[in-house]
Symmetry: C2
Subunit: 243 residues, 2 copies
């Protein structure tokens, strides 16, 4: 996914001219975490800002208030490192697909989107920060909350709490769920439950990750490093030839 | 994550007034797939568009060219169904977290971001469409490509191809990787490899998903439905009490 440093048939200038800049010479740029898919922040770019990002591979924007270029991290040294950029079908919106050195928001949070409109419109009091989490990270957050509740003493513990408290139960479940995922394939049985069985594997394995204090983002980083180097296939293929 | 229909302490009008609308009365709205995290499309909203989305729970934008409101799907009946919305720390950018009825882009593709700037700047010929995929979906796409290559006859097959061709090998690997994930926890051993072991579990289980023609998005849908209904914990807790 890295931007090539080879000589270009379509030079940067032609690319920049192909963007539909608005009447102020701007387009939208959305920084997205390449591993988690989290939308980190959104800014605007002009031609110079996009050209700078292409060259430096650090997310750079045009500040509408200051009317200047600014590279996220230029003062803090905490950049959003770009893996690739994508333009949309209208050519007026750009995704900066990258990896932040540290949490992106000036508040110290992972992303700038931590205020839920759903929460704001609810009657009851709301959590102060509620990050825009997609399914996997919402599940991760739920599991973390269950761990925090472990100290509490209200009623029957949830299934997640029981798994967190009992390592043998957790491991037995992970093995059993992996087995249930495989059996229909081996026995050529109906496999209409594959998604559900895989969901069970992921959920239980994520409880183990919580137990080990490993984030799913770390796992995705491993996967990205492996298969961007064609590593996973090579390593596995080697191991299997050797054995 | 659903927007409450209860009476509001902070009515919609107060919320709408809290948004920092630009000199044209607009803010950015980014539609994101609640399960995969894919950025589906980006548009602009004015007060009316955001108010309409809050009420209808269908992603609605303000068309800058037509100077009208438009609800994605108003002619096709294929909507982006909203689960929640998030405003950023500057209050001028909004995430529409939702689920599209069908692929979002008018081209028929999943998202509007299918042109890689990295590709455009490369010397060699590039794929016509290259969706902005984050790690898990990039891996899923790689596994699909390996399957398509199965018909080809070039050299030694990759590890993924071998797994796709040999169900017993695939299932043996999934069980072995689940075991390797669990053993350090049971035996209180060093667990510095947890992320790597989990990566192995995910990769091999994703090859099985490909084999069964199940998308990781379907698995995440199952997880979302379960834990948004507190289903997964209840079901598992019940099963475990029963057994």
């Amino acid at each position: 996914m890295a931007i090539s440093s080879l000589p270009c048939v379509q030079p940067v200038d032609i690319l920049l001219d192909s963007i539909k800049w608005d009447d102020k010479g701007l387009a939208v740029a959305i920084a997205q975490n390449v591993d988690t898919g989290a939308i980190l922040m959104q800014g605007f770019v002009n031609k110079d800002a996009l050209a700078t990002t292409i060259t430096s591979r650090k997310a750079t924007f045009f500040s509408r208030s200051g009317a200047t270029l600014w590279t996220k991290g230029e003062t803090s040294n905490n950049f959003i490192n770009i893996y690739d950029m994508f333009v949309d079908c209208d050519r007026d919106s750009i995704i900066y697909l990258g990896k932040p050195d540290v949490p992106t928001c000036h508040t110290g949070l992972e992303t700038c989107y931590f205020t839920s409109i759903g929460d704001l419109l609810k009657e009851q009091e709301v959590e102060e920060t509620n990050l825009a989490l997609t399914t996997l990270y919402s599940l991760e957050s739920t599991i973390s909350k269950r761990e925090l509740e472990l100290a509490g003493k209200h009623g029957k513990p949830s299934w997640t709490k029981r798994l967190l408290l009992d390592e043998n139960l957790l491991c037995a479940k992970i093995r059993a769920e992996a087995d249930e995922l495989c059996r229909p394939l081996e026995e050529k049985e109906d496999s209409s439950c594959t998604a559900s069985e895989m969901a069970n594997v992921i959920y239980h394995a994520m409880v183990l990750l919580r137990h080990k204090d490993v984030k799913i983002e770390n796992v995705l980083e491993v996967l990205r490093r492996r298969f961007s180097q064609s590593g996973i296939e090579e390593k596995q293929s080697r191991a299997s030839t050797e054995s």
